[in-house]
Symmetry: C2
């Protein structure tokens, strides 16, 4: 029997009308704004009505450092949600939306895989419910209003050389990274150098994902620092008077999107900030709403636990008052082997020694997450080539640390393949064993916060930074931004700043090359390496083969 | 009693669930893709199933040359649709979607006004069903793929100086009109000068509005000329291999959007190309679908009849095989006075002589439209300050031409105020008196086509053009584009190319400054004056006061 592709499985899904999925959650039809028959937004009035309800248990799915072997973090998130429902728990999942642009570069990202997927997959990889378009519009309205303000006399005395607010597009378009605008004479404004980022890198995206409601959204939008004067005093979005109109553009995008898994369990797919210059989690409003609608909410964070889980805990949970009850760290035998030094081409052969050698990467993530006061279980996402001995090696390693690793076959079997993990996660979450606390207190100095993450999470020896960087942090502290958490922009492929350094390196230094203020989102970004905020297309973009087939189905996107 | 604003009336509307509106048209729920509770797209399968049905009667609503006094063309279109339903006819309307960007500049445009509106008004002025965002994405994917092609070796030998495909954004952003992209070094590509237009000016918009179905859409997208080689041979979108992915991005945008009037009658609101460099009509697919679902379809065209009706007939009807059965020319007493030389400030005072003096503008439009073989009736859109004598002067003038002018009070009274016009329109349409033919045959030379429009519609003495323009037209004829119709880009405020020349001027010349090929849309654009394809924001953009009020309603947008 031929193995079905993800898209074939997704298309064969027996979807319930989205109103049925809403009914499972107790959402009346009038409060569900449908987008087609299989997607809907939950309206504001209904969400506001949930304020008094108790929150369910929050479960984070995170992972080891990503390798080219793949870990299946989203697949495990989806599988675990289905698994919890299978064992009789009321559960739902919360994951991020996909960015449109990159799908036309490399083969598009699905929402999970195999028998553990969220549907409708095609639409989630295309316009979905238009949230990212709304973010693009809101961001670029502010950009246009800044240049327009200067054009009409520049009453705010914006220094044209110090405009930090760029433009965005949800497209991989390297030609827009660095541009000069305002050419062509008097009627087109003042020429100046600027550029475009991809929409998911917009601070508006990070804000939307951290805001509690529309009032909080508008306040945060107003707080964005868009430029500076010659005397270096900041100019805010509020000064440009764009915050109200941006809120109007975002009012629907703020509402969580309800879809379903292949097994007809509910899922919120909402928001998708970058995981380097931003925090990489789905929206607070989706997670919080889910917690008030069900007993267990399974969510994920970007990249490995060193970046994703740390930001989930120190930024999202801190800001939203969320208290995670359990965490799942996803690992694969193949990824352990790669961490143990095996090349991708050689992953097919059994190599228990390499598995053992790679396990310290996993081990460090376990310790890190436990350090936040969150109980951990490891999910071994099964691949067909894994041998018994290799799987046992991972289990033994984890057991030696006093934790448990559970083999999961949700990719092949759906919820039936992940029942053991679901039982363990429910047990951990219900045990009351969690005692969550962020890594550092708000009052700690900004540079100390960076050091805390680098030393205690990355196990680095030291943090290096130019005087200019340290001085900038002091300026922000003096300006009242000292209480913000830090958002580390580091390679996801290693605990260190060197992407080739796998396993569990020690003795490394973390160089902070630049710091940026996201005053609306509410964090300071520490950039530790080259960060690309506008991708390019490959030599042969996927777009060249994307099209509609004779039956009107999308081909080439997956 | 205080007069209610358009938005107050719209918010008080008793909307039917969109499924009910679909049911009136015989569209099963499964074929109606809802966007919220009051908007829906009609799916492709259902539209394809209508192919064998007879088309209903097609009624065009057009107008005199626009003046600052306002004519109320959309209001009359909506009112007439409601009026036809009121007298027992099965009728629907087809109008254009609003562009997002300009709403943040000047006060936003509503869809009709008073008691003759389409709802939901707020959403139609914001993201609506995301069609324009899809067009933006499709357009910019092609742009990115062109620069990406050059980046990876330029196998097609694109001359970077001769790339005619720009980028688009649905925003008034003058700083993007003229830009240099690709700065910043090797990894960002080759610097070159280009710019952004507003999305409604995209050829993709014109294509979407002229395509019969998705296959036709993809063929037309493939036909777009994006650049030239050094030897001036054209490079097509198809050569860049973007046409398939663009079609995927546009597959939902191609489906007509169903909404309703205040009186719960069905309306398609779909597509919105510029009325200068493009043809300014809603989509062919919406009009054609409506014609197969009801007995009477009322639609409108951009600007006055010299531009809008001419393009509707010579481009849209010619290409789509549509045969209009009747036309309504909207006039107001106030606009007649302005055409007669009265300043806007003086419109309040009765001035029958000025009305009479302005009427020849109306008279020429009547003759022009009749010249296409389409029976005409004039709608006098009533304003409260109009006097009996002024109204009678218009009626008398029209009667002298052998036609009829009917006073309409739909703005104040809804369908009850437009019953007389509805009866007359139904009578004209049912009379079989129409014998539609476009102004010129396909075989006529391109310059001759321009002259035909200028002399027979604008009543110009001559057309002037540089040798370069004439030579370009010959080159296109030789390349096989000679059969295309011409799309005139001229000021809408006068029959001439001088916007200050009101009334019915004669003896003027029409200067063709530039010609452009829209090979995918299928027309040659003749530019007769300064045409702005990326608007700017005013000193105090509407965005400064747009926001959500305490109840979550949008304020400042209308």
């Amino acid at each position: 029997m031929a193995v079905k592709t993800d898209i074939e499985i997704a298309r064969a899904a027996r979807k319930q009308p989205i109103q049925e999925i809403g009914r499972m959650l107790g959402i009346p039809e009038a409060h569900l704004l449908p987008y087609g028959h299989d997607k809907a937004k939950v309206d504001q009035a209904f969400i506001a009505s949930l304020g008094g309800r108790k929150r369910g248990k929050l479960i984070l799915v995170t992972a080891i450092n990503p390798t080219p072997a793949g870990e299946g973090k989203t697949t495990t998130t989806v599988g675990l949600g289905d698994g919890l429902n299978r064992i009789g728990k009321r559960a739902m999942i919360c994951i991020r939306e996909a960015s449109l642009g990159p799908n036309f570069g490399m083969k598009g990202g699905a929402a999970g895989g195999g028998m553990a997927q969220v549907v409708p997959m095609e639409e989630m990889n295309l316009h979905f419910t238009g949230d990212f378009h709304a973010i693009t519009s809101a961001h670029n309205l502010l950009s246009a209003m800044i240049d327009n303000h200067i054009y009409w006399g520049n009453e705010l005395e914006i220094d044209e050389r110090r405009i930090v607010w760029r433009r965005v597009m949800d497209m991989n378009d390297r030609a827009l990274r660095d541009i000069v605008v305002g050419l062509g004479g008097v009627s087109n404004g003042f020429p100046r150098q600027t550029g475009f980022d991809i929409t998911v890198a917009s601070e508006v995206m990070a804000i939307l994902c951290l805001a509690n409601d529309l009032a909080d959204l508008q306040r945060r939008l107003g707080d964005i620092v868009v430029a500076y004067r010659r005397d270096k005093t900041p100019i805010y979005c509020r000064d440009i008077k764009a915050d109200g109109a941006m809120t109007v553009l975002l009012k629907d995008a703020m509402q969580p999107n309800l879809v379903q898994t292949l097994e007809n369990n509910p899922a919120f797919v909402h928001g998708g900030p970058f995981a380097n210059i931003a925090h990489g989690c789905n929206s607070v409003i989706a997670t919080d709403t889910a917690l008030r609608l069900t007993d267990y909410v399974v969510t994920e964070a970007g990249f490995g636990a060193d970046l994703g889980a740390e930001k989930f805990f120190d930024i999202k949970c801190r800001k939203a008052g969320l208290k995670p009850d359990a965490a799942v760290i996803v690992a694969t035998v193949r990824a352990m082997k790669m961490n143990g030094g095996v090349a991708k081409a050689d992953l097919g052969a059994e190599n228990v020694a390499a598995v053992r050698q790679g396990c310290p990467n996993l081990g460090r993530h376990i310790g890190n997450v436990q350090g936040f006061g969150v109980p951990v279980v490891v999910a071994i996402n099964h691949f067909s080539g894994d041998t018994e001995a290799e799987i046992q090696a991972v289990k033994d390693y984890v057991a030696d640390l006093g934790a448990e690793a559970i083999l999961c076959k949700h990719w092949a079997e759906g919820s039936a393949g992940i029942v053991d993990l679901a039982r363990k996660v429910a047990e951990l979450a219900d045990s009351g064993g969690a005692d969550f606390a962020p890594l550092y207190p708000d009052e700690m100095g900004l540079f100390d916060k960076i050091e805390a993450v680098a030393k205690r999470i990355y196990h680095a020896e030291a943090v290096t930074a130019d005087d200019a960087v340290r001085e900038q942090l002091r300026v922000w502290e003096a300006a009242g931004y000292g209480h913000l958490p830090v958002c580390m922009a580091k390679t996801p492929y290693s605990f260190s700043a060197d992407p080739t350094l796998r396993g569990a390196p020690t003795g490394h230094t973390v160089p902070v090359r630049e710091v940026r203020l996201s005053a609306g989102a509410g964090f300071i970004v520490a950039i530790c390496g080259a960060i690309m905020t506008m991708p390019g297309l490959p030599r042969h973009p996927a777009a060249e083969v994307i099209g509609l087939d004779d039956e009107g189905f999308v081909e080439g996107l997956f």
